[in-house]
């Protein structure tokens, strides 16, 4: 019997130099604990104010040529005492309000419950979390997902319409591109939803013995990929909705002319 001896050079025992946190991590670590809540409050507050202005105070349906603002799609009851946006905004806004990611954001930033990890809380009243009204209504998130699916379908239809010039020819405009990016981001956000992840396959214990279990397992894995970046999709899609709406406002006001090619 022979014994094999492996020689190890001393140099191989020295570990690689420790790089530590990267520059972005160091900057984030150096920020005070209140920086993130303050940013979230500011951005969500501005988004709320902008939504109120564009939906109720900007003078009717925000539409220019083939481009329709996502705040007004689908256009239900175009005339009436209240803005048509009222009938549209409910489900997307409540979908976001009950979204698991946004819950984290506003519990931390608006309710300070907690404002940051391992930071003391200012309020010490009786804590009930999501066990009591009104916050237990967040459990209805999956129903708002069903409604938002319908709205997302209409937004894809709007993008289809945006490809058609008034004379019936195909057109490619900057507005078409903006609307397409917007609906892609909104779809990424919607289909990365935690409730959808559960409904599509996460609720199963045993894929191998379930009806269409393999398909649901694959679907669950795809949704998981989107879900892992859910916060990023949430923020990007929120900004893209505003950008799309602002762009159409600019066209409608005649401040900007949409560059486009008609085929």
């Amino acid at each position: 019997m022979s014994t094999q001896v492996t020689k190890v050079s001393p140099a191989s025992l020295v570990s690689a130099p420790h790089s530590g946190p990267g520059p972005i991590e160091r900057i984030l670590d150096s920020l005070p604990w209140w920086a993130l809540p303050a940013t979230v409050v500011t951005v969500l507050g501005l988004f709320g104010l902008y939504s109120i202005w564009t939906a109720f105070l900007s003078g009717g349906i925000n539409q220019s040529g083939p481009y329709l603002s996502p705040f007004y799609s689908p256009t239900i009851w175009k005339t009436g005492p209240v803005s048509p946006a009222l009938w549209v905004l409910g489900s997307p806004l409540l979908f976001r309000a009950t979204c698991y990611y946004y819950r984290k954001a506003y519990y931390r930033s608006f309710f300070w419950d907690p404002p940051a990890c391992a930071v003391g809380e200012l309020r010490h009243r009786k804590y009930r979390g999501e066990t009591a009204f009104p916050l237990f209504l967040n459990n209805l998130h999956r129903f708002l997902f069903y409604l938002v699916l319908i709205v997302t379908g209409f937004l894809w239809y709007d993008v289809y319409l945006a490809f058609w010039a008034p004379n019936g020819h195909v057109q490619l405009g900057l507005g078409t591109g903006i609307m397409l990016v917007n609906v892609i981001l909104l779809s990424g956000y919607t289909f990365g939803c935690h409730s959808w992840r559960h409904l599509v396959g996460g609720g199963l214990d045993c894929y191998s013995k379930s009806v269409v279990g393999q398909a649901r397992y694959r679907a669950w894995k795809w949704v998981t990929v989107l879900n892992q970046r859910h916060p990023l999709w949430a923020w990007c899609s929120m900004f893209s909705v505003v950008i799309t709406d602002v762009y159409i406002h600019l066209l409608r006001a005649g401040i900007f002319v949409d560059p486009h090619i008609v085929f």
Binding site: H18, K104, A118, R142, H194, Y207, Q214
Partner: protein, 273 residues
């Protein structure tokens, strides 16, 4: 809270000292350790510790124990971030002492405190026995009596559970959870570690028990408001919130909050799993 100062010992450390002179960087770390016993007045004691290359906070605590203050109490075991014993709070953040490098921390004094959410035993050692009581409340893995072994479980059925098996029970997630830490609801709330355990059992393809109602009632799942601090502090990088707590909330919603599924169960009379 008093702050006391202890001088650094000579660089010529005793032979048993783990910090040999060969790796010295020439820098000195000010380590402020909270010392105390139950009922006593806690005091933050400052120690001067010579820094060596690659030093972690547990090394610094050991240096203090060996050279400056043999009375300092600290729980540790593997020094490889796998036993979960050396949990403490460094500069206010719940971490493993053995995984927290000195050169990753901002310059200046470093504070080391015991876990805030658990009763103090001495210095950096806390009583985490409440966690083991909670663990006993959870019904263990239970297979169907007629499900004979050996089992052949397809990979896709067991994939999700591997992540939960990485838990080292350091209880940092329990410590940072504001429901236990700030609201003192540990008697009515299982906490993130045990939602991970429940999730691993509920998702197991061979387990036949239904723990959803218990998790909602006794476990206080509804108290969790998904602020993800548990995920942020997990040294094993388990996605506690996204992969354990939210799926459990959705499973509870299947029972209590989904009339569509309720109608489905009425029509087809079966649980979907």
């Amino acid at each position: 809270m008093a702050v006391l100062d202890q001088p650094a010992s000579s660089v010529d450390a005793p032979a048993e000292n783990a910090l040999t002179a060969s790796g010295l960087t020439g820098e000195t770390l000010t380590l402020r350790v909270l010392k105390g016993v139950p009922g006593g007045e806690p005091a933050e004691v400052a120690y001067q510790v010579p820094v060596v290359t690659g030093m972690v906070i547990l090394d610094a605590v050991h240096y203090v124990q060996h050279n400056l203050d043999t009375d300092l109490a600290c729980r540790w075991n593997c020094k490889a971030a796998k036993c979960g014993s050396c949990s403490a709070e460094v500069n206010g953040h719940p971490v493993l002492l053995c995984k927290t490098r000195v050169d990753d921390l901002p310059p200046g004094p470093v504070t080391v405190h015991p876990l805030k959410s658990f009763p103090l035993i001495k210095d950096l050692v806390t009583d985490v026995s409440r966690n083991y009581e909670v663990n006993r409340e959870i019904p263990p893995f239970t297979a169907a009596p007629d499900d004979g072994t050996p089992w052949r479980i397809p990979q896709e059925d067991i994939d999700r559970i591997y992540e939960f098996r990485k838990c080292i029970e350091c209880f940092l997630c329990q410590d940072v959870c504001h429901i236990i830490r700030s609201h003192d609801l540990s008697e009515r709330f299982y906490g993130p570690r045990f939602f991970v355990r429940v999730a691993s059992l509920e998702m197991h393809p061979k387990d036949v028990l239904d723990r959803r109602e218990q998790t909602r009632e006794q476990g206080g799942l509804g108290y969790c408001n998904i602020t993800k601090c548990c995920t942020e502090v997990c040294p094993e990088h388990i996605h506690i919130t996204d992969n354990a707590i939210i799926p459990l909330k959705e499973r509870v919603a299947d029972v209590h909050w989904d009339p569509v599924r309720f109608v489905g169960r009425m029509l087809f009379g079966r649980k979907e799993d």
